[in-house]
Amino acid sequence: MTERTPSSSNDTGGIDRRDALKLVGGSTLAVALAGCTALIGDESDDSTEDADVPDEPIEAGLQTFTEGAPAVLGLQAQYGAETAVRRINDDGGVAGREIDLDVVNEGDEHIQNYRRFVDEGKDVTFGPISSGGHEAMVPEIEDRGVVNVATDGTVTTLYEESFPDATYSFRFQNHDVMEALAAVNQAVEVLGADSIDTYAGINPNYAFGQDEMALFSSGIEKLTGAEEVYSGFPELGADDMSAHVTEVNGTEPDVVFSSCWGGDATLLLEQAHANGMFDSTDLLVGPVLYGSANDLSADLVDGPIYSGSRNFYWDEPGTDRWTPAADLVSEVQSEYDVVPTAHFMSGYGAVTAWATAAEKAVDILGRWPEQDEIAAILEGHGFFTPAGYHTIGADHQGYSNAHFGELGWSDEYDAAILENVNVFAPEDVSPPPGTVSGDWIDTW
């Protein structure tokens, strides 16, 4: 047997540079966003100070909905990304480089926005909110090779089936299966599996709404044996949902599931109350109703309404022992006059995922990393935010705790809140690595 000797700096005895980065990236190195100089290891570690890193700021681009009805979510993502950037820059930047963040309205121009960012020489891009937009972007991202960390665009099939071998495209927010199954678990916990015989759905008519309803249906039928009695798909941004509410009233399901968000969520709750839907059903579970926390009113949240809050609810986990988390709500309120929702964390987390991975890469390489090196680090990367601990899987999907609670009202914040919040660990609401969600649910 001959002993193999590494022949060059790139040859590490059978493990190439990319694999080495993956191994290191795959370790659950805990990093926290308190500014990037303190991200990796202990604060006395000054390995990045000697690294060969350019002086210029990091040019970053975020596309999100900054106008129109979807801005309810989009602005939160913008606030989150800006807050993360502000904190990183205040603490010295990523390996000494500050971040310049450009924000543009995503509209229907996802591919053009990404192309424009790349043409402008952006080092990294973030966003979008839209599921369809994210799906359209992925092949372009793979072609152009500038890392994009999507804030949302959470369709489950995206990385499971459509693009299982992506290199540069990542997503921070939990994907649909995690919130749809959190909704299933929440419904079962509130009503009990034996009390759920029928269910209905009112979901927006596009990839996200269809994906969420399909996953919820699979999950609740497996857990309770319930039967679907109605499923309606109003258009995104619909101005009337009363026909769907009437259908629900006619079928009197035990549980109604709705992934409506933004203005659609507000409209659904208004028309559900006006048409007495909560007399016809025992429970409404909506994974993103709380995304409209700042737009809801006290009377709208009255009733058996439970909402998800994706991978972040501002009161979870307990925030009193870590300054970046403890200060978050007051900082966001004073800066933007809103209560942060899960979409705030979409922006905050996407920036943090990339920034901590870039810092880690500099620490390992001793120089500023190439795009493929940051991409390799991001696979299996672990990091903290005020929402808790997150990992980006080898499938490029972010995994975090999923939150679900009862909608209530806070006079103190003049906004909706969640009470009795349940926290579901990623492994309880998403399939094991390499398994398609639908197949996994079928095995229940």
């Binding site: 543009v104 229907d108 121009e109 591919i111 424009r116 599921s131 359209a136 092949p139 459509s162």
Partner: protein, 378 residues
């Protein structure tokens, strides 16, 4: 109606030839210009495609004097024609995708044209708008077209279409695959654009074009002299739609993903109409110039200006009030005015005086209004 002008009015032939060569030179140099300037190559490319659709729309607008508010229907049909072939039939040849786009747009233009050819004025405009919206609603509701999420124009969802192997040739010569694809597609667009502009020029100067002019001036008279009005309008409408189809097919190849809002929504029809007006309805290539300018404004202003929608409105107002003949159509008048002032510099003083007195009048009116508001009397 005078002969269709390639660009501007009564210019000497030599000047026209120079302008055409210069225009072609600029078109061919766009990728290089974009490398050394902040110009966006992709945006100019997209602008040319919408400009091509606007050239088709202008055939109706200028000659038959019919205003279509639904012309993006053919652009969208072309784009979706290509996307359906790529998504459901895994067609990877760019030319086959383009052929599919043209066929789909032609079929839809034939049907819609047949149904609207007998109508005039506001009825024609509203009918075209209605058909556009029916098509949009159908696509948005249809799972076959993947509703608002749209369809990929990549065979298997990943691979870019092939462009006669020319893109691969450039790749093997060391060019980045994305760049190679975009360069080949751009020059294919330029070639098609030039051919289509020449076709339009021949068409509008043919007996058929003259007949369209006659129809535009007075349908009854045209009918009396033996022109089969409805049939000619139908043919003109279909040809006009084909331009949209070709542009839509090329747009699909450029964007590689087609969604209903950007290629089928009625507002985009309004934008194509605006492109023709902005560039100059009375000129042949004005709509192309209008397409590039408007797409540039719509796509890039939002990266720099918060209220970019207002910017588009301001440009529209400026065109209507100050350049009613459009950017290209106003060049002769502007040129003549500059020429007059060069010969008689005294005119510049008159201009300045006119502007100053206009501003003075405006300020005086504003002061008077404020005085009345504050004191109740003048």
């Amino acid at each position: 109606m005078s002969r269709a002008r390639l660009s501007t009015g009564n210019l000497p032939t030599v000047v026209r030839v120079v302008l055409v060569v210069l225009g072609l030179g600029v078109l061919l140099a766009v990728p290089d210009l974009a490398r050394v300037t902040p110009l966006s190559f992709a945006t100019i490319h997209k602008g040319l495609l919408f400009g091509l659709a606007a050239v088709g729309l202008n055939l109706l607008l200028r000659h038959t004097e019919l205003v279509s508010f639904g012309h993006v229907a053919f652009f969208g049909t072309g784009a979706y024609g290509a996307a359906v072939l790529a998504t459901y039939y895994e067609v990877s040849s760019g030319l086959v995708l383009l052929a599919g786009a043209v066929l789909a747009a032609t079929a839809v233009a034939l049907v819609v044209g047949y149904l609207v050819a007998g109508h005039l004025d506001i009825y024609f405009a509203l009918l075209t708008l209605a058909f556009n919206q029916v098509l949009f609603a159908f696509v948005v509701q249809s799972s076959f077209f993947n509703s608002t999420d749209g369809l990929s124009v990549r065979a298997g969802g990943v691979d870019r279409p092939s462009l006669l192997g020319l893109d691969q040739l450039l790749v093997s010569a060391g060019l980045d695959p994305v760049q190679a694809y975009n360069y080949v597609l751009y020059y294919l667009t330029v070639a098609i654009l030039v051919v289509m502009v020449l076709v339009t020029w021949k068409l509008v100067n043919s007996p058929f074009g003259r007949a369209l002019d006659a129809i535009g001036q007075d349908r009854t008279r045209a009918r009396f002299i033996g022109i089969p009005v409805e049939r000619y309008v139908w043919i003109a409408f279909t040809i006009s739609g084909i331009y949209g189809g070709i542009a839509g097919g090329l747009f699909a190849l450029l964007q590689l993903h087609v969604r209903p809002e950007p290629v089928l929504f009625a507002f985009v029809s309004g934008e194509i109409l605006f492109m023709a007006i902005l560039g100059g309805v009375g000129t042949l290539v004005g709509p192309v110039v209008g397409g590039v300018i408007l797409v540039y404004l719509l796509d890039l202003a939002r990266f720099y200006v918060t209220y970019y929608h207002a910017l588009t409105g301001i440009v529209l107002l400026a065109v209507v009030y100050f350049l009613p003949e459009g950017v290209l159509g106003s060049l002769p008048a502007l040129g003549a005015a500059i020429d007059r002032r060069r010969r008689d510099p005294g005119l510049v003083r008159n201009d300045v005086e006119a502007v100053v007195s206009s501003v003075r009048r405006g300020v005086h009116r504003a002061v008077t209004t404020v005085r009345i508001l504050v004191f109740g009397v003048n």
